[in-house]
């Protein structure tokens, strides 16, 4: 199958041959559908008719005047912002604390990472049950004397988005912690020793040693969290379907409603492409800021 390593073309063709199976799968299941969605976004298509009418940029201009799109757009940014703060910020703090804890570390680590392997639909079911007005969370608040804080979590327009973001973070923060932990293990202990000799407090050591050393890892966690949070669909759909009204409508649920439920596949595709552009732009922007600071 592969060329003789000594042959003239081997060093050029063998890597390609090795890559071919994975590349084929990637092209069929990622590149081709993406290109198709971009193509559909320039059409008016109900997803059924054999003919797709080319409408140019009409779907994109419609986005600008669609108030629900902008509601979903705003919600998506709030949603992602909350998740990034929790997964990157809290994830880093938890990892830093875990790195210093030896007793029961494996147990704590397992507890934090376990939700990552639970299917999103199961996560949705668990949290939908917990967030019921008579659910576990409100009951717990009553028990500890904080009954005044009990609220209809999924029925409150002001709270629902944050409540769902918390549920999403619960199920994904474990991955951030693991990546940060791996990064922390690579930090040279001599740097901490030197900081200690210079009289640095643990907080100062964290600020001036840990954080700079973890910059590349933070970038990875940030981008992973960002892309993950933008493409969430199942958790929101299975709990609120974007409600109450549209207070938890994010771009992915809006895309599904317009495309799959209302048979506006062209317009739904335009929403999908806008989502792709936003995530790509945010990622590039973040990488550029990182690179500039590194220089």
């Amino acid at each position: 199958m592969f060329l003789d390593p000594d042959s003239k073309w081997a060093h050029r063709l063998n890597p390609v041959l090795f890559l071919l199976p994975a590349l084929t799968i990637y092209i069929v299941f990622a590149i081709y559908p993406t290109i198709s969605v971009i193509e559909y976004s320039f059409t008016s298509w109900d997803g059924i008719s054999p003919d797709r009418e080319y409408v140019g940029l009409a779907n994109y201009t419609r986005l600008f005047t669609d108030k629900i799109f902008w509601e979903a757009f705003r919600n998506t940014f709030v949603w992602s912002g909350v998740i990034i703060v929790i997964n990157v910020g809290l994830g880093l703090v938890i990892a830093a604390m875990l790195a210093r804890v030896w007793k029961a570390r494996l147990l704590i680590q397992t507890c934090i990472v376990l939700p990552v392997v639970i299917s999103p639909m199961a996560v949705a079911t668990i949290w939908r049950w917990m967030y019921q007005p008579s659910g576990v969370i409100n009951q717990m608040l009553e028990t500890i004397g904080l009954g005044g804080l009990a609220t209809p979590w999924l029925g409150s327009p002001e709270i629902v988005l944050y409540a769902l973001a918390l549920a999403h973070s619960w199920s994904t923060i474990g991955l951030s912690v693991i990546i940060f932990l791996a990064g922390l293990q690579a930090v040279d202990e001599d740097l901490y020793e030197a900081a200690k000799v210079d009289g640095a407090t643990p907080v100062q050591a964290f600020r001036y040693v840990t954080l700079p050393a973890l910059r590349p890892v933070t970038a990875v966690v940030f981008i992973l969290t960002l892309t993950q949070s933008f493409k969430v669909f199942d958790l929101v759909w299975a709990t609120t379907k974007g409600g109450p009204i549209r207070f938890s409508e994010i771009l992915s649920t809006y895309m599904y409603k317009r495309g799959a439920l209302e048979n506006q596949y062209g317009y739904g595709s335009a929403i999908g492409v806008s989502l792709l552009v936003i995530v790509s732009a945010a990622t590039i922007l973040y990488m550029q800021i990182q690179n500039r600071e590194d220089r």
């Binding site: 059924i48 008719s49 054999p50 019921q132 999924l154 209302e262």
Partner: protein, 436 residues
Amino acid sequence: MMKFLAFGAAFGALVALPSSLLAQTEVVVWVAGEPGQTTIYDELADTFNADNPDAKITVVKNSSDLFNPALVPALSAGEGPDLFTFGTGPGQPAALIAGGLVADLTDSYYEHNWGETIPEGIVVQTSSDGKLWAFGSEVETTGMFYNKAIFAEHGIEVPTTWAQMEAAVAKLQEAGYDTPIGLGAADKWPISHWQSMMFGRYAGPEGIEDVLFGDGEWTDAPFVAASAKLQAMGEAGWFGPTPVAIGYGELMDRFWAGEVPMTFTGPWVIGGGIEAAGDRIGDYSVFAVPPFEEGQKIHPTNSIGSGWYIREGSEATEIAVRFLNSMFLDTKGRVALLNAGTVPVGPLDDALAQAEMSPLAVDIWKTSDDHAANGTVPAFLDTITPGSLTTVSYDGLQALLLDVMTPEEFTSEMQSAWASSKAAGEIMLPGGIAER
């Protein structure tokens, strides 16, 4: 030698015979339902398969949420099910028909005398351009399910006037029931059951038809009044302090557990209720919501929830039709449907004589029959109107309950979506099939 030849011939015949008999045609049938959950269609398919060795019906279930999004691409790819259930009426199937994805069933209608079973009113909703596109098979209704034990405990009689209804709710609230009428509005669609019933009560059957098939508008006075009434009931706490925070599943659990005294729903909950309530199922019954206003009539809700379509180009059309006949025309199938709480279209006398319907199912249909002479209205407007209107209705109904939208704004948004769908030609204009 002769013996040997005879044995050989007999053996050859035996080998050849089963192979011809075993040449089965598979008919893939898609129905809405939770995967893994048994429905009556599994039982009907098993019976059909046993009676028809040349056919194999395979029933595939998909949850309601995902059913249409999975069906449409499958049909478009020419690989969808041979037979499937889908919405009827002026909204949802229009695109499937226009796209040439469903078969014309007019020939089968005449060949198998479907007209003797399917009422004309249902044929009107499943046909266009003189052709029949779906077998409108079942009748659905909705009613107020209530806990007789709770009513008796608090000395409440079944209300027949709105004043009595208000008194009953007040008494239940005083007794500590924070949710006198369960709604499960977090899932949005349960509110549309109230909407369909109330729109029908306020506008009457003619008023609804005028919008669906005529020049009527959702902004007409009866629809605004109905929306205002629903909002007022929500504000008065009839559906509990936070109806939009509770999902339908959780609500039904509370209803069957005896924590919620009433809920407005349909016969499809009876199977789950028997499982959940066990011996206490006798505590439950159904009544018709009393007229909301003085002089208003009770119009029972009556809909064909969905119709059965055959994919255009299916190679199993003949067997699919045979399966439809066995389910909805043969007495055995009709009895099985009735026993499962599903009411097939057409005259029921023969089937009812053999059926063993649950008392709750009998109650709800009796409630419906008692007022049928007043004319019926659709039970599920959301399944017979286009998807874009459904989205607007669902969101708007939650907005009404949260008091962030006025009834006028709600009906105006509905009308706007309806007008857009009409302009885009997403509305089928039914009208019966051509006479032969």
